[in-house]
């Protein structure tokens, strides 16, 4: 603000310098965002700090001596997927391995959190009509964008400081290198927040903005699959490869993401200052008009679930099938290139496969099947979303009974994995079959993938059971069950937990290193049925949420 008081007429005739009002209310908004998201921010910080710390402890336990690390480096160089995603291992010191392993993971965590956070406070609020409420107050044109960037930068800075402290004090690594690693990750996180802000300005709906921003993140973090090494410096994942925080540190590097951040924020300013409320450069595909009459099938809760979410399942199925075909094809081609390496043979021995291609195929299939747990849980949580947003009451006030309403949504949720898993099996089998000429792979792969269905249904069962008993806990409980099970996969692979304990989690019996038995999927199918029955019975007896 200029300190010199100007008489009113002069001000009206207008000295058009920077308008201080463009940022009016930034402080208030920053406090509001922090207050509204304090738990989210705490979780975001905790995960971002815990990740490198976890890697430091687990890798130290796994690779205690110089010799083991040398062996590890050799095995890593032999693994084409690791090499493509993480790049070459820069040095064999333990801290070198830890930051090499943590870099991409950290980028994904801070990047995803930051861009979702940015869109949540901008386009999502605008979609919900809350932006209008706020913009009606004394709030400047650039206030919201500025406030979001400030909070995102502050959270990332806190992450940087805590990561440096944890690695330096907890693991005993050099403070300078730890700080540089933390700052680089933090600068990238802030950059993705700014990317999210630009996406939110351009896309006309929060969903569209999210897909765009996540696609940018994937391109920035995992380009190694498609991009040759000499072009990697264009991407954030490549910046991490030249960083080398503990050996030949490049201290200028965090300035690169910061410069990109500044450019993105200016772009977001430029768009937000020019566009109308609710408008965007990229129109939402769904549009605002549609059929005047309901289609034939839109006459039941199941039909409603299909009408609302069927498109998503189709998208998931197409995406997973396409990726599966690619993965099946690529797996087969690895045989020729890496089949002779020692490290590869050792892996084959553990998995009980004859060729490298077979081994890779089972691993990829397993990972894809794990992913299917996510859309399953999302589907299973829809009854809660419908009820808590007040859309259940009008239907339950019709002759639709509670159980019919719930089973309409649940049936759709259970059908989703029953479609997605065969899609994965068919895709991987087809890709592999095309590359090797072994058509029987299609049937075998479909069977393997379908075997996983009871595991995903168990997560749906947990979601529905908790929804029936304590609806407000359904969302955290369902996702916690998935996260814990996924964590157990890592613990089992690190041999921290035993086979029996691992089999007690739904992800256990399908693991490629666990020889499959029929009893486990049957048991999980029964467990899922029991959980669904409990949830249904409890839902029929309780009050509707008000």
């Amino acid at each position: 603000m200029s300190g010199r008081p100007t008489p009113r007429p002069a001000a009206a005739s207008g000295i058009r310098a920077v308008n201080p009002d463009a940022l009016a209310g930034t402080g208030t908004l920053v406090r509001f965002i922090v207050r509204r998201d304090r738990l989210l921010i705490a979780a975001w910080t905790a995960v971002a700090v815990a990740l490198p710390l976890f890697n430091a402890y687990s890798l130290t336990a796994l690779l205690p001596t110089h010799d083991t690390r040398a062996l590890f480096a050799e095995a890593t160089a032999a693994n084409p997927l690791t090499a493509a995603l993480l790049g070459p291992l820069p040095d064999t010191s333990i801290e070198g391995i830890v930051v090499w392993r943590s870099g991409v993971q950290s980028l994904i965590v801070v990047g995803l959190a930051a861009l979702l956070f940015a869109i949540r406070h901008t386009r999502a609020d605008e979609d919900a009509g809350r932006r209008e409420l706020m913009a009606g107050g004394a709030v400047g044109r650039h206030t919201l964008v500025t406030a979001v960037v400030i909070v995102a930068a502050a959270v990332n800075l806190a992450v940087a400081v805590l990561v440096a402290a944890a690695l330096a004090l907890g693991a005993g690594y050099a403070l300078g290198g730890s700080l540089l690693f933390g700052l680089t990750v933090a600068a990238c996180g802030t950059m993705f927040a700014a990317g999210g802000l630009v996406a939110a300005q351009l896309a006309q709906s929060a969903a569209l903005a999210r897909s765009g921003a996540v696609a940018l993140l994937v391109a920035g973090v995992l380009p190694g699959i498609a991009v040759p090494d000499d072009k990697m410096w264009i991407f954030p994942a490549g910046w991490l490869r030249v960083l080398r925080p503990y050996a030949g540190a490049q201290w200028w590097l965090p300035l690169v993401p910061l410069a990109v951040t500044a450019a993105l924020v200016l772009a977001a300013y430029a768009v937000s200052a020019r566009r109308d409320l609710g408008a965007g450069l990229l129109p939402d595909r769904g549009g605002s008009t549609g059929p005047v009459r309901a289609g034939r099938r839109l006459g039941s809760v199941g039909g409603l679930a299909w009408r609302l979410h069927g498109g998503q399942v189709v998208t998931w199925a197409l995406t997973l099938t396409t990726m599966s075909v690619a993965v099946g094809w690529v797996s087969a081609s690895f045989d020729a290139r890496f089949g002779s390496l020692d490290a590869a043979r050792e892996l084959l021995g553990r998995l009980g496969h004859e060729t490298m291609g077979d081994a890779l195929l089972t691993i990829f299939t397993y990972v894809f099947c794990l992913v299917v747990a996510c859309p399953t849980v999302m589907s299973a949580l829809r009854p809660y979303a419908e009820e808590s947003r007040g859309r259940a009451a009008p239907l339950l006030a019709s002759p639709t009974g509670r159980i019919r309403w719930l089973s309409g949504h649940v049936a759709f949720g259970l059908a989703a994995p029953a479609v997605l898993l065969p899609a994965i099996g068919l895709g991987t089998g087809l890709g592999y079959g095309l590359a090797t000429g072994r058509a029987e792979a299609i049937l075998a792969q479909t069977g393997t993938a379908l075997l996983f269905a009871p595991a995903t249904w168990t997560f749906a069962g947990v979601a529905i059971a908790v929804y029936g008993l304590r609806p407000r806990l359904a969302v955290p409980a369902a996702w916690a069950s998935v996260l814990i099970s996924a964590g157990c996969v890592a613990l089992w692979e690190a041999r921290t937990i035993g086979r029996t304990a691992f089999l007690l989690t739904p992800f256990g019996y399908g693991h490629p290193e666990v020889s499959p038995e029929v009893a486990a999927p049957v048991a999980y199918a029964l467990l899922a049925a029991l959980l669904l029955a409990v949830g249904g019975a409890a839902f029929a007896r309780r009050d509707l949420l008000t």
């Binding site: 309901a294 609302l308 239907l395 019709s398 002759p399 639709t400």
Partner: protein, 308 residues
Amino acid sequence: MESVISATGLVKTFGRTRALDGLDLRVAAGEIHGYLGPNGAGKTTTLRVLLGLLRADAGEARLLDGDPWRDAVRLHRRLAYVPGDVTLWDDLTGGETIDLLGRLHGAFDTRRRDELIDRFQLDPGKKARVYSKGNRQKVVLIAALASEAELLLLDEPSSGLDPLMEAEFRDCLAERRAQGTTILLSSHILAEVEALCDRVSIVRAGRVVETGTLAELRHLTWTSITARLERPPEGLAAVAGLHDLEVRGTSVSCRAETGHVGEVLHRLGAYGLQDLTAQPATLEELFLRHYRQPGNDAPVSSGTAGTP
């Protein structure tokens, strides 16, 4: 008369809040029953209990010929409901939503649907997320009114409607009453209730504190009288049943207790009555009487309810 809704001593608590606190409600067949009360008085909770969406902690409720909790599905075939807080599916158009709700109800008249869409001037091809509040309200109103139902439960149904649509809505309700439909109309738009309702219940802090026809309710209250006389009156204050007397020269305003109007008029006549207006209490006065009492946080003592 036969009761379509009868509730006795309903209690419903949410944590420490007593949303319903011994609520009694009776709605007779074929009437439009106004259910009045400010926000938070328990109107919506009552409707949700009557729909079997909530289970009462104590008391008994009968709806048509069944128990609202146990016989929910069977009873819902015979009624239609308009919720107070309308949330629709963002991606469904208004037309799709109306059809969905109608098909789930079962007995749904598509000709009437088209007629109502016309009457309420709704664009059925727009997605729900771009509708204004009034248009969202129209969607659920049309779905409810196009359903064959012998009972309509309406929770603040006209909120967000413009005056033209509000008039259209009143016509629709009057037509339904002519066809014999029973309607429970929860509202705080007093003019609407006054124009439509045969009987009224006033709810306060989870209890019905007054119930009856408008005439009966007015019977309990005083008539406002203003008069211009030929000469200044004297000694009027002593007249029994006369309150709030204000005399300004030859102008007099006062309120007369039920049963004392004749005597008041007789006494005024003695001073040469030139001009007179007498009006019964408006619903607003009846309503405010229950909410402007000192210390109205506490439940009203049972003595004020229904006793002449």
